[in-house]
């Protein structure tokens, strides 16, 4: 952990308990996830119990306590996407990447997550890679999209599994 980096983030906010969520958001933007030592450090700096920090980091879905891959693939399972085949997009992505939802490929290239609605419901089913949206996506195009982010059949799998 780079204490200076965290200090800088904290200084941009007030050293106040109520700023905990924005601070964690900024730290996550920096690391892509929330390493444990950063949480400890933030708890100490803001003088809040570590349990509170963990409470927040585990309650809200956008926080991740596990390292994420270089690219975050999110498939929408909101209602509109659900009735237009969102689950099949997710299954296809799982199969291609060889991981389950919530997991990261062994080479840390991709993390696959599901979300409830990304606000472009009219275009369902929707998949988002990093901040690029792909609307009206047929399952047959998922692989092509992943290729754009450097997917090769080598990056799939958590090892061993077929």
């Amino acid at each position: 952990m780079d204490e200076d980096k965290i200090d800088k983030i904290i200084e941009e906010h007030r050293t106040d308990k109520s700023e905990l969520i924005p601070i964690l958001q900024d730290v996550q933007a920096e690391y892509n996830w929330l390493p444990q030592d950063t949480l400890r450090y933030i708890a100490k700096r803001l003088q809040v119990p570590l349990t509170d920090v963990f409470g927040i980091a585990t309650f809200y879905k956008s926080f991740s306590l596990k390292p994420r891959g270089k690219h975050l693939v999110r498939v929408c399972l909101g209602t509109a996407c659900h009735v237009r085949g969102g689950p099949r997009i997710l299954e296809t992505a799982e199969r291609i990447l060889g991981i389950k939802t919530g997991e990261t490929t062994e080479d840390y290239k991709f993390t696959l997550e599901s979300v409830n609605c990304l606000g472009c419901c009219a275009l369902g089913p929707v998949m988002v890679v990093d901040n690029e949206y792909y609307g009206k996506l047929p399952p047959t195009k998922v692989e092509k999209v992943l290729h754009k982010y450097g997917y090769t059949s080598l990056s799939s799998g958590k090892g061993g599994e077929t």
Binding site: S62, H82, C120, L123, N131, G135
Partner: protein, 619 residues
Amino acid sequence: MNRRKIKSPSDLEKLRQEILAKRDPKKPRIAICAGTGCLALGARKVITTFKEELKKRGLENEVEIRETGCPGFCEKGTIVVIYPEGIYYLQVQPGDVPEIVEKTLVEKKHVERLLYTDPTTNEKAIHEDEIPFYKHQMRLLIGNNIKVDPKNIDDYIALGGYRALAKALPEMTPEEVIEEVKRANLRGRGGGGFPAGRKWETTRNAPGEPKYVIVNCDEGDPGAFMNRALMEGNPHSVIEGLIIGAYAIGSHEGFIYVRDEYPLAVENTGIALEQAREYGLLGRDIMGSGFDFDVKIFRGAGAFISGESSALMSSLEGKVGAPKPKYVHTSIKGLWNKPSNLNNVETWANIPLIINKGARWFTSIGTEGSKGTKIFALVGKVNNTGLVEVPFGITLREIIYNIGGGIPNNKKFKAVQTGGPSGGCIPERFIDTAVDFDELTKLGSMMGSGGMIVMDEDTCMVDVARYFIDFLVDESCGRCVPCREGLERMSEILNDICEGRGKEGDIELLEELSEVMKDTSMCGLGRTAPNPVLTTIHYFRDEYDAHIKEKKCPAHVCKALIEYYIDAEKCTGCLACLKACPEGAIAGEKERVHVINREKCSKCGICYDTCKFGAVIIS
């Protein structure tokens, strides 16, 4: 940019005249939707291509490009409108750009193929008000989205923006503002439909300082995106409403709570607040009235329950965003235990309209108990998906057929789901119901935030109920037993039914659990969670029975209850499905009938989608 502070209502009018004077209404302008929906369809590339093309032809000073908010017809994005004529182009791709510039901007002709074509009559529509999707709407709130660049406050001011504020601050007392909102009978658009004026009054009269005003842009209802479109497409309309509300309530500090999944809304709102501050529309002594007020943005961190009022306020305090029992309302004791008035984005956006045009005008629109318009997110199995703004009282049929253009692929309409996870499914026989808060509640559903998900014969209603319950299992904060345990049990039962393990008595058990949850849950999440289950049981009991007794899914959705096979008569032996099958479960040779190996088949349905001859059958 250096902006001159607006110190009085006449300053605002002067500024407006200056902005208009600098703008030639005859100058060609290309408005391109840069909302999240169109961006997902590649609007960014369309915009850059237009810029390059204009430059190439030396037209960059002659033609203005405006990146606008979302006009709602997301299905047909990227949307490009050419002004001053108002020529409406749909589904524009970067490759169409040179032709638009050549034909429309230079030769003043239309590019026929990009105009709206009526699917039955093949007639073309040139302008917005000729397109059926728009023609039957009443776009008081989102109508301006295609006219303004949300990143430029001058566009909003040019259209008369902040005039309501300029009227309220000097001419009306706070009480008079509240009175006007009460007379307008504006009901909250975030779900409950509580009268906004009454809530404002409660907060104004509640003891304790400071008082807070808050915009709820958490929009957790999956399938709804009208708040996103307003907040990212025309943020000043919300901000203006908020400032007026703050004045009426006596608040000097406001918050806009935006869900994390809406990065563009966060960005555009941030820019809007900054620009409003530069003009002196926020900050100290707003428009020389002596009234001080400022606003902060708070990004949610992804939790459906945090859209509930007390949970949202906990979240703003930096805590876990879970609700509290409401012995005292948040309007009296809310954020940091101070009186706090929370309203939905759309509620706030109505305020400038009411102040400008008056409560009389507002109450002339809508039904007895629901006044004004409502924006719905019309999505799912409907031809024209997108945002539709309609007066209360319009029927479901008008929305789904006249505006939505009916159901795609000649499928049969089955139900429409309103109200999100708290709402219910309304079957076809109620399609002529006039939509307002009270009528939807009577049918066992609710208005909710305005999600309207159309379902056709291929949608399984038991699966829909299971979907919502599973969603809520994930989203329940777990503090009260009926909601936490009730949802878990319901999810087990529904999953059993969908997977062929349903038994006699399951339906009754679901109904019993529902009653207990409704009566004893702590917050709205648990109290309304049974609605999707109860309405589907009530209106579609035969589908539950088919799953439980016959182990069949009539809509062919529940995987455990279906099999795929290939019809030997129809199969041409083209190898397409065989190649597409990810499991290698299809055997066959060219021009020989293919066969699916049931053992290997994962029922992903890819063969079904791939086959061009309808030879893959689900049973």
